[in-house]
């Protein structure tokens, strides 16, 4: 029944192997749709046979989020790799979900433009995966996170409905912004099929500056950098070993970048620090969010834990990474210290998301978009 329905959809299928597992859940099939219409046909088939589906792009963050309750079909968007339109004069690009960020960056660079994203997996992740996980990079401090750069989206709902919102102009308030709703929804509302972004000109000049501080010095230094009229586009810290010093770095872009950077911190370099924007290594990974004036408290809570912290003290967003079951009490401790912690990947059992204030409304949204619970069920907050 399942196979028959899927084959009838006309979408290319292959049998799933161990590498296709989502968390510890092995799907039966991998579908390779080549168009928005094919995704729609596939999801109609899934609806008919009550099959659960999980979309995947580059697979770089497939271990993020809770394992799905069930997964019959993995929807691999790798064949949807067309950059549909790059309107350079309008600073806008429209791309299919499976376009990798590296391919996109290469294309945009030919016209001296970029999609501002310098976070984890900035080469291999896809447009769809970036949006579904809502990952932010260092420069989101100045330019906003992917949701702020997304101006139009085409999605396919669990019943096969193709819907779009926004468009290809930056300024547009017609209708609800489904793009924001789908950004960071971890595949639980539908499949992101195409996206349109606003772009920025590539900076002619860029300079990084850095310094080493004790954990106790970081918060004040970061607050000062955030307010600096030299306008750094990013301020990041790297703390690989929470018994040692913290590296604090800032990026300045645009005209006179080097001179402006010199006013911020002592050590100027034109090259990007190797750790810049990367999530780092370790068996558990969490995103920690807090207000900039709580950064000192977060650092104090981590001192001596053996975990690594990296991220932005001015945006109040970090990756916490490390090995061992010691991760679990640290997450609890950070929440007690007033930080929000989302456990993205971990082999240990714990409350992944913490308190979610608007959860009842979120459940109602899920219920409307996916009443049959077939889209990445259980992956996100409150088992949505």
């Amino acid at each position: 029944m399942a196979e028959e329905a899927l084959e009838k959809s006309g979408v290319t299928l292959r049998e799933a192997g161990p590498l296709d597992a989502v968390g510890d859940v092995l799907p039966s099939y991998v579908a390779l749709p080549e168009s928005v219409e094919e995704i729609s046909a596939l999801l109609r088939a899934c609806a008919e046979a009550d099959l659960a589906a999980v979309p995947v792009g580059g697979g770089t963050k497939l271990d993020w989020g809770a394992p799905p309750e069930r997964c019959d079909v993995l929807i691999d968007t790798c064949c949807m790799n067309q950059i549909i339109e790059h309107a350079a004069g309008d600073l806008v690009v429209r791309a299919q979900a499976g376009v990798t960020l590296e391919a996109l960056a290469d294309r945009l660079a030919t016209q001296g433009q970029e999609l501002v994203y310098d976070g984890p997996f900035r080469a291999d992740a896809t447009v769809g995966g970036l949006l579904a996980a809502g990952t932010a990079g260092p420069r989101s401090f100045r330019y906003g996170t992917p949701r702020d750069l997304l101006i139009g989206i085409t999605v396919v709902l669990a019943d096969g409905t193709i819907a779009k919102s926004g468009g290809k102009v930056v300024k547009n308030v017609a209708g609800y912004d489904l793009g924001k709703l789908f950004t960071g929804s971890f595949g639980t509302l539908g499949v992101i099929a195409e996206a349109t972004f606003r772009l920025h000109p590539l900076a002619a000049e860029r300079a990084w500056v850095q310094t080493r501080l004790t954990p106790a010095q970081v918060q004040d230094a970061a607050v000062r950098l955030a307010a600096a009229q030299a306008e750094p586009t990013a301020v990041e810290l790297d703390w690989p070993d929470p018994s040692g010093p913290v590296t604090l770095a800032a990026l300045v872009e645009g005209a006179a970048a080097t001179r402006r950077a010199q006013t911020l911190l002592d050590e100027v370099t034109s090259s990007m620090p190797g750790w810049w924007g990367e999530a780092g290594e370790g068996e558990s990974l969490a995103e920690v969010r807090c207000m900039p004036d709580r950064v000192g408290g977060v650092l104090a809570a981590l001192e001596g834990t053996g975990l690594a912290l990296r991220g932005s003290p001015v945006s109040g967003r970090f990756f916490l990474r490390g090995d061992g079951a010691g991760f679990v009490p640290v997450v609890a401790g950070l929440r007690e210290a007033g930080a929000r912690v989302s456990v993205l990947a971990s082999p240990y059992l714990m409350d992944r998301w913490g308190e979610v204030s608007a959860l009842p409304l979120m459940r109602r949204v899920k219920e409307r978009f996916d009443p049959g619970r077939r889209m990445s069920p259980g992956r996100f907050v409150g088992g949505i």
Binding site: D90, V155, K171, P201, M362
Partner: protein, 482 residues
Amino acid sequence: MTPLAEFITALHGVASGEGEVITDPVRLRTYECDGLTYHRATPGVVVLAESATQIAAIVKLCNRYGVPFVARGSGTGLSGGALPRTDGVLIVTSKMRRVLEIDLPNRRAVVEPGVTNLAITEAVREQGYYYAPDPSSQQICSIGGNVAENSGGAHCLKYGFTVNHVEACEIVTPDGDIVVLDRMDPGYDLLGAFVGSEGTLGVATKVTVRLSRTPEAVTTVLAAFASIEQGGQAVSAIIGAGIVPAAIEMMDALSIEAAEAAVACAYPEGAGAVLIVELDGPAEAVERQFAQLTEICAQAFELRVAADPAERAAIWKGRKSAFAAVGRISPAYIVQDGVVPRTSLPSVLASIDRLSAEYGIKVANVFHAGDGNLHPLVLFDDAEPGAGERAETVSGKILDLCIENGGSITGEHGVGVDKSRYMPRMFSDDDLDTMQLVRCAFDPRNLSNPGKVFPTPRLCGEVPGVRKGVHPLVESGKAEQF
């Protein structure tokens, strides 16, 4: 008793303060329209709300009696988003105007919804901060209204819109619950969906905005061109050079004439178009960009640079007064808010010219050229038979042009009641039905600002509880208009 009459009786139990509940027909008329004055409806009852708990109690009553509610801030909206319901309650937030918290280390301010946009900047200006979104009505428009409409302004080219500057909102949901939507929380980005939902997903009762650091340098340039084509070429060249100015505004000869008549802005004589370009940021960066800009504007026959804030204000004066100013040269006008991709501006402006000639209707063009947001002012004499209809036709055809060119029917004014009928030209039924899923999740009884944004009301499956007096499919938006 009608549901509304029962509701009003019950309302006195939750809003008992002096002058809070308005039922006097003369005073009710004060609230019959927002900034879009040709849509009018006298509200069934008005409440001047004072707190979130009170609004929550009112909305609970709305649910009990099946009475629709509309929230209103300062009433400056230009799409009829705060048009009241004759069968409903208008919840006015203008008394809720406390700045609750200024938190500079975290670059945030927490304000009540009735606080004006400019009041936020005024509260932090001396400390070197400001609130970036700057709609032209910023002296009076409220932050609650800005959140509902996702307001923009001249400077959103570089800095983005309200949605990019709101960190959290406390809202009263259409069920009457108080819920916090916060960008820092995990889960769906309901805040992103709420901002710009035009009051259809609930009422904002507390808004946390991000504050921006005042830039080190600001340079404002006025460039006068012989023709609008030359001005348009300069805009493309600026963007092409990789410059992102804080604002690029353009006015054509007719709107300059109007501004001149109204505020004597003393723009260069004989200009076919003026361009206002504002550069801001670190001083050295602004200097370099200004040098580039001067080269790019070589075709301009006059280039003025504001040397101080007073001269900057003088340059902006003509632009900011443009809407009101056309009243000096035309008895009536319709303001549109369509958007086109910036590169389509020249061809769209030429098409507007042709429409203008064909229908014998003058169109003054004032626009945010940097982001392709047109504000054509369609001028007509309402005493002349048929002129209003022709102006309406031209206005609609301009929106069609925007859609054909891949743009939008509204860049910052919102859909409201005014443009809901154009929504199907921009979106398919499936698109609109999918958006309605969000509305049904928040507002299954269709009580929160019904009849706005979407062209046809939609039933959210089974409606539990009390039914409304009139079936939503029967009750179209037209019933409430004079």
